[in-house]
């Protein structure tokens, strides 16, 4: 058992930022907006957080800065797609490019040193020593916040009127509008929320996990987060499952390498991706397991003047 704890802890640590980013995107997609700019938003959030601690700000301030940066990036996307009716796929990709470039450009002066402040681990006294689930109780404040966000998002989406309204907007904006819901306004809120969450994920990478800034720090994890939303069939708790599965299988592949198992690291490296596909197929093939259709209006622009 002791051998697996580091594996579990490692998987959880990898999953936390993915959960934040995926939750944010999930809410946006539930409102019908497909934002492919997650990677760009995470990067600007990461830079904002790192720059804040680098100039002496505390981690809380850094977290706030990251969220603001993510919101700003998401706002650009929101204006393009929700007000100016631009194609969501193209706008999201443009945001990724812009976010990558802006963060790389502005971040040039922040390379080469360790973050002066970080999020300390806050282990829960009795529970953190337990085998297997112990690592779940030795997280830092962002880790616990991730778990809280999972619960909050699930509760919001499925047990509140506002959540119902949001989901209605994602299923059929025309009907929602006829019922008096402010479709565009709700979508704006959802997209900005997605930006804030992506910013938090970026903050986690820059200040909590890697404690440094470098161009392209997130190395493609924004795309994994997008994939996780689909994998989770747009249900919050399943993003955590997907993130753990992904991070866990990656860790397992590395573990097998270090343990001397003679399988090509390339084959082992493909396991997380194959595992995700297999799990997705298993989940999608049986309709009883869960309702897995995408929000019906996902990706389609909606113009309130129509």
């Amino acid at each position: 058992m002791d051998r697996f704890d580091p594996l579990i802890a490692s998987g959880i640590a990898a999953a936390i930022p993915l959960v934040f980013a995926a939750l944010g995107e999930l809410v946006a997609e539930r409102a019908g907006v497909l934002n492919l700019g997650v990677e760009g938003m995470m990067l600007v959030g990461a830079l904002a957080a790192f720059a804040t601690v680098a100039v002496g700000g505390g981690v809380t301030l850094a977290l706030g800065a990251a969220m603001l940066a993510g919101i700003a990036a998401a706002a650009a996307f929101a204006v393009l797609t929700l007000t100016l009716q631009a194609n969501q796929v193209a706008a999201g990709l443009a945001l990724t490019i812009l976010g990558t470039g802006v963060s790389a450009f502005l971040g040039r002066g922040y390379v080469g040193f360790r973050a002066p402040a970080t999020f300390e681990d806050l282990p829960v006294p009795a529970l953190s020593g337990l085998p297997v689930i112990g690592p779940l109780f030795s997280l830092n404040v962002l880790g616990y916040a991730a778990i809280a966000m999972l619960a909050l998002t699930a509760w919001f989406l499925f047990h509140t009127r506002a959540g119902l309204a949001l989901r209605a907007v994602g299923e059929s904006p025309a009907v929602a509008h006829a019922l008096g819901l402010r479709v565009t306004r709700i979508r704006y809120a959802a997209v900005l929320f997605g930006g804030a969450m992506a910013g938090v994920a970026g903050c986690y990478y820059a200040v909590a996990q890697f404690k440094m800034w470098q161009e392209g720090l997130t190395a493609g994890n924004g795309w994994i987060a997008l994939a996780l939303v689909v994998f989770a069939a747009w249900r919050p708790w399943r993003t955590a499952l997907g993130a753990l599965l992904f991070g866990g299988v990656t860790g397992l592949g590395l573990y097998l390498q270090a343990a001397g198992v003679h399988v090509s690291p390339f084959v082992l490296g493909s396991l997380p991706y194959l595992a995700t596909i297999v799990a997705l197929v298993a989940v999608s093939a049986s309709p009883q397991l869960l309702r897995r259709h995408a929000p019906a209006a996902l990706g389609k622009p909606y113009f309130e003047g129509d």
Binding site: A13, R114, F210, G251, P265, G269
Partner: protein, 365 residues
């Protein structure tokens, strides 16, 4: 005879150059600076491989103030784009172009054919031509020294290596690291994890965590981020920096950094060209020529270890010790290098086996 000719030519060149220089100085005409181009595979801010090259470029510029003008192009993908960039640099008047990654090899050769009057220098490759020359450094030397430190500092007798791809450049560093450690503790073993990327902080971190979880307490990497160092510090074990001095990232865990020092080579190539004798050799330099170094040694390393490292370093610099001198056994039990022999450069550049003490096999072999 050849030596006398060389000396004579050099002297004449020097005199001619000085005369030209003074004449021009006298007439106060600004001499066109030599334009030198650099093709980088990553951003200069990567704190690693490209960062080290850029330090070298800046050092050369500082040394040859006013006589050279450098241009660099960052993050050039190693596919079809690279050839275009090299051509563009040559076409825009850059007499010398340095391409700083082995993935630029064929592209440099192809572009060089169209610019026979320019000179191209390709790092870490193995193909050259009439105007393409190779340069490489011996990272395995500071890796060996790091191994010595690791041998002293490891309490659990297990080392870890976070590796990118199974190319000879990486395999020989793993071997050197292990050999150095075993010269201190003959029972030490090394575990290797391949992350299939040169830069992926998340994967590097997980790899480091995995190695530490399996008992490794001194880590070395050849990937580009500081994730391994940071993880080591978080978990209370040790690690080394790579490509540049990484003390700032993890002051408690950092034991030393194996670095490249490209400045003197760049300066030499530029000066040779300016002197009218373009540099036309393929070189593979190491600590002896100042192209590599092992720096940033942590004061917590015990004095006995520091002494041993210093002594070994002096031997390497003096050319008296080669990390791959026999007897060396492979980890499959065979004798790879008999006593009294040393691996040739060609063998070092194509190594595809592990030394005794490294666990597992080189992937793909």
């Amino acid at each position: 005879m050849k030596k006398i000719w060389r000396a004579l030519t050099a002297a004449t060149a020097a005199v001619a150059f000085t005369l030209c220089g003074t004449t021009l100085w006298g007439t106060a005409i600004a001499q066109q600076p030599l334009r030198i181009g650099f093709v980088y595979v990553g951003p200069v801010g990567d704190g690693g491989w490209t960062f080290a090259h850029d330090i070298g470029r800046k050092a050369m510029e500082a040394k040859l103030k006013g006589k050279v003008q450098t241009t660099y192009v960052e993050s050039v993908p190693e596919g079809a784009d690279a050839e275009r960039v090299v051509r563009d640099l040559a076409a825009k008047g850059h007499q010398i172009v340095f391409t700083t990654s082995f993935g630029y090899m064929d592209q440099t050769l192809k572009a060089a054919k169209s610019f026979p009057k320019n000179f191209f220098y390709h790092a870490t490759g193995f193909k050259s031509s009439s105007n393409v020359f190779i340069y490489n450094c011996r990272m395995y030397e500071p890796a060996y020294l790091a191994g010595i430190v690791a041998g002293h500092m490891s309490k659990r007798g297990t080392l870890g290596f976070v590796a990118s791809f199974p190319i000879p450049e990486v395999v020989r560093n793993i071997n050197a690291y292990t050999l150095g450690a075993r010269s201190v503790n003959p029972k030490i073993t090394t575990k290797v994890v391949w992350v299939s990327s040169w830069y992926d902080p998340a994967k590097e971190r997980q790899a480091a965590e995995t190695l530490i979880g399996q008992g490794a307490d001194v880590l070395l990497q050849n990937t580009d981020s500081s994730a391994v160092l940071q993880t080591a510090q978080d978990k209370g074990v040790y690690a080394f920096g790579w490509d540049s001095d990484m003390t700032a990232y993890a002051p408690k865990a950092h034991l030393g950094s194996a670095i490249e020092v490209w400045g003197p080579y760049y300066t030499l190539v530029a000066e040779s060209y300016l002197a009218g004798k373009p540099f036309k050799e393929n070189i593979w330099w190491g600590m002896k020529e100042g192209m590599n170094d092992f720096v940033g040694l942590n004061p917590i390393v015990p004095p006995a270890a520091l002494k041993q490292v210093a002594a070994k370093k002096a031997e390497i610099v003096a050319g008296k010790f080669h990390p791959f001198s026999g007897p060396i056994k492979g980890n499959d039990g065979t004798t790879r290098v008999p006593a009294g022999k040393t691996l040739s450069d060609k063998e070092i550049d194509s190594v595809n086996w592990y030394v005794e003490g490294v666990e597992g096999k080189v992937p793909g072999k």
